[in-house]
């Protein structure tokens, strides 16, 4: 299953902020965590993640610092700020509204198998 591009883009910000709310992290680890959380179904590219991190930094939701790690490498760590936490809470409320409404429709009124075209069942 491949997720629609718009959906990936819309969920990207709360996803990254949520992961950073668990503790500071860096690009590669964030990407792996997303992969792990979605069971490999969310396949983010670096071209999505890094510009997003830079945008969140510009908006003041995260802050970054360079740290030395083993092997003489430098790594850029990101940490969520208070503003970021507030934004995360706001996004959670919005997403909850959307998912609640969708659940209302999908679980209570429409059964999933009715949506599958008859032909493909055969």
């Amino acid at each position: 299953m491949k997720l629609a591009k718009d959906l990936v883009a819309a969920s990207a910000t709360p996803m990254v902020l949520g992961i950073l709310a668990e503790g500071e992290s860096y690009g590669y680890a964030i990407l792996r965590r997303i992969n792990e959380l979605s069971g490999g179904k969310l396949d983010w590219t670096e071209g999505l993640l890094y510009p997003l991190l830079h945008r969140l930094e510009r908006l003041g939701y995260v802050e970054s610092s360079w740290q030395s790690v083993a092997g003489g490498r430098r790594r850029k760590y990101y940490r969520i700020t208070d503003r970021g936490l507030a934004e995360l809470a706001e996004q959670r409320r919005q997403w909850a509204t959307v998912t609640d409404a969708l659940n209302e429709i999908w679980l209570d009124r429409v059964e999933l198998n009715r949506l599958i075209p008859i032909g493909s069942l055969a």
């Binding site: 590669y28 670096e46 830079h54 945008r55």
Partner: protein
């Protein structure tokens, strides 16, 4: 294959990859670091999963996706990076170029301050702008251009020989401007004041091209430098005008008249210091901002061609002779300078290997119509000179006119051969760069030989 061998190979691959990333202007040094860390993390994991170093590297790079798409995504967030920014000092990204630009900035500030101090230095000996305007008029370029030349020579780490030549030429300029007994209302004074800056500018050119003064490419670079310098100078001057307007307006609002300060300090110091600042800007931004002079050249070539052709048609239609007043020759000299400038800056931006096109034909029309007009003017003016005798003004104007005419005549010939596909474009470029010494010889001749030739009139 040993482990260290593997490692070396991997490092070499990383180095190569970095080089590719750094060529992208959307990606900064810090982005490259961040992406490299990502790539290394990915490679480490793949190697833990049992892949060889080179396989892991290939897979990791492949996963990262095409660099084109990656930099496009970066550009979307950092759109300001596509507007090439000229930083006064480096961004703190790359260590080496930063210290370089910092040193350049420092040298520029010293030279600009030196220029500002030097123009106020004669004040100490009682030479004021009001009472000794003649002194300042003929010496003005001597307060500014040596500093610009000094800055350029410093930047190019000029050899002692070149520095000696530069110092000698500037000293010669100072001698030419000051030893002749010229009175305040003598024509030679005006002629010297106009020709010395050009002569000295070509000395600046010598500092610019440094050791490579013989090569055509380098001289063309100096022509480009001149155009960009001019554009920047005009921009700085506009800013200075706004500054002055606000200085006057605000101080007069509280009843203080800043005229004295502006006339004696702000304006003269600003004018000479801006010479150095503009030169530094051109040097610093060379690869950062698109050259603007060629763009202006392209924009105005069709317009000037149209005006000149219309003028020619009008002359023929009304069968009116060109009324040659005293100023007329100067006006037509300036016209030739503009036409030459349009030609030069179109050449400077042109790919020498591109075949001739419509624009080259347009240029040919421009040059030919300017030539025809100038010949009409010359016929008139030589009649006048033989009738009334010559003065330094007329002789200088006529000399410049003939020099420009000769240049444009041969340019027109080369252009027509190029449009007819008989000579390569490079011939025109070589002709223009080879012609530069002619200007130098003529302007120095005017400065040094005209006053005695005309008995210091």
């Amino acid at each position: 294959m040993t482990a260290t061998n593997d490692n070396d190979q991997l490092e070499a691959q990383f180095a190569q990859w970095r080089e590719f990333v750094q060529r992208r202007r959307e990606l900064r040094q810090s982005d490259a670091d961040e992406l490299e860390d990502h790539l290394r993390g990915s490679v480490d994991d793949l190697m833990k999963a049992g892949l060889h170093a080179d396989e892991a590297f290939l897979v990791a790079v492949k996963r990262m996706g095409r660099l084109d798409e990656l930099s496009r995504e970066f550009a979307r967030e950092h759109s300001e990076r596509l507007w090439k920014q000229l930083m006064l000092v480096g961004e703190g990204d790359a260590a080496a170029p930063e210290s370089r630009s910092r040193r350049d900035l420092l040298a520029m500030v010293i030279c600009a301050a030196g220029a500002a101090v030097s123009i106020k230095a004669p004040d100490l000996f009682g030479l004021t702008f009001e009472d000794d305007s003649a002194f300042y008029a003929r010496n003005f370029s001597l307060f500014a251009l040596p500093w610009l030349a000094g800055f350029l020579a410093w930047r190019r780490r000029a050899k002692p020989l070149l520095i000696g030549v530069l110092v000698t030429l500037f000293a010669l300029g100072a001698v030419g401007a000051n030893v002749y007994p010229l009175t305040e209302d003598s024509q030679s004074l005006v002629v010297t004041s106009l020709h010395l800056p050009i002569a000295l500018w070509l000395v600046v050119g010598l500092a610019y091209v440094a050791d490579e003064w013989r090569t055509s490419r380098r001289r063309m670079d100096f022509i480009r430098f001149t155009g960009e310098w001019f554009v920047y100078y005009v921009l700085i001057a506009l800013g200075g005008g706004v500054l002055i307007a606000f200085t006057v307006g605000t101080f007069e609002a509280i009843g203080i008249s800043p005229d004295e300060f502006i006339g004696n300090w702000l304006l003269p110091c600003g004018v000479v210091a801006a010479t150095v600042v503009a030169g530094w800007l051109v040097e610093a931004k060379q690869s950062v901002v698109e050259n603007i002079a060629p763009v202006l050249g392209r924009l105005f070539t069709p317009l000037f061609t149209a005006v000149l052709l219309a003028f020619l048609v009008a002359v023929v239609w009304t069968s009116r002779g060109i009324d040659v007043e005293r100023e007329a020759l100067i006006l037509f000299n300036l016209l030739l300078v503009v036409v030459l400038g349009l030609l030069l800056y179109s050449i400077s931006a042109r790919d020498p290997l591109a075949p001739s096109g419509l624009f080259d034909k347009l240029q040919l029309a421009l040059v030919v119509s300017a030539l025809v007009i100038d010949v009409l003017v010359l016929v008139e003016i030589t009649g006048r000179i033989t009738e009334y005798g010559t003065t330094p003004n007329k002789a200088a104007a006529l000399g410049v006119n003939l020099i420009l005419l000769a240049n444009l005549f041969w340019s027109a010939w080369l252009l027509s051969r190029f449009v007819g596909r008989r000579t390569p474009f490079a011939a025109l470029e070589r002709w223009q760069t080879g012609y530069l010494p002619v200007y130098a010889v003529w302007t120095w001749f005017v400065v040094l030989a005209f006053p005695p030739l005309f008995d210091f009139v």
